[in-house]
């Protein structure tokens, strides 16, 4: 599972599961960058179908956000799935 790291303030771990095509996901990335927050993200739609499921990425998203929607942001140990 290859996450891309974006540098910034890393006092709390932020992980973003996103879609490369989604405007809300893009704005979430922009927001984090504007706030100078370090985060790791993975564009789930850019994985191969097998990688999405057999690699467990989608299951991981659902473990944090049962709806399996995007963007799903994991802040520290907190589970966050709502949009807007």
């Amino acid at each position: 599972m290859d996450f891309t790291h974006v540098d910034g303030d890393s006092h709390i771990a932020v992980t973003l599961f996103s879609l490369s095509t989604c405007g809300h996901c893009r704005r979430t990335k922009t927001f984090l960058e504007e706030k100078g927050i370090a985060y790791d993200y993975i564009d789930v739609d850019c994985l191969s179908g097998g990688e999405t499921f057999t690699g467990g990425v989608y299951d991981l998203v659902k473990s944090y956000n049962p709806q399996g929607s995007f963007p799903t942001i994991v802040i520290g140990g907190e589970k966050t799935g709502d949009r807007w």
Binding site: L19, T21, Q67
Partner: protein, 190 residues
């Protein structure tokens, strides 16, 4: 390679189809064009133009409910003022008079989708929710709407020559619509 020209052309095409039908695109034009870009990427990647904010997995028939405009658009606009990705918005949201709130995804998570046979019987707008005399069904191939007690099961004798918006259907209780040789209907409400 998707160019800026492609995005502009698709945006205008969607807008020209939407507005005469009583739908509005997101007034944030840059945001709307980002979504259109996502739709074009999906079309190029998968061969069908799925919602940019949902994960497409599998063949077209497994994703037909999220081909834009998705099956969930009408009910989401009624309930939340926007569709899930917010490309389409209500009149109030377009005018800036209605605030936008958090919108959950009506589509069940992947792996929990119900059978297509069950889907076909479900209307896109339920009458009791909107005070309508009939449920409204939307053709999932072309987007045509019809209001009747149950979805048509076979092709009928005449077709409506253009897309019908929800507003016009409220004034005409029954429309019988045809799309090629088969009928398909959206599921929105569970």
């Amino acid at each position: 390679m998707i160019t800026r020209f492609d995005i502009e052309r698709k945006y205008l095409e969607i807008k020209q189809q939407a507005e005469p039908s009583g739908y509005h695109l997101n007034p944030d034009e840059d945001f709307a064009k980002e979504l259109v870009h996502g739709i074009l990427i999906n079309e190029e990647r998968y061969g069908f133009a799925t919602c940019p904010c949902r994960l497409s997995v599998g063949p077209r028939e497994d994703n037909i409910d999220i081909i834009c405009p998705c099956d969930y658009r009408d009910q989401d606009i009624i309930d939340y003022g926007v569709c899930y990705c917010a490309l389409y918005v209500s009149t109030g949201v377009a005018a800036g008079t209605t605030p936008v709130s958090c919108i959950p995804d009506r589509r069940p998570p992947l792996g929990e989708l119900v059978s297509k046979e069950t889907d076909n019987a479900k209307p896109s707008v339920l009458p009791e929710k909107q005070g309508l005399p009939f449920p409204v069904y939307r053709c999932r191939v072309c987007g045509y709407l019809c209001a009747r007690t149950s979805p048509p099961r076979r092709p009928v004798r005449y077709a409506v020559p253009h897309r019908i918006g929800l507003r016009s259907i409220l004034n005409k209780p029954v429309h019988i619509l045809r799309h090629g040789r088969r009928w398909t209907f959206s599921k929105l409400c569970s």
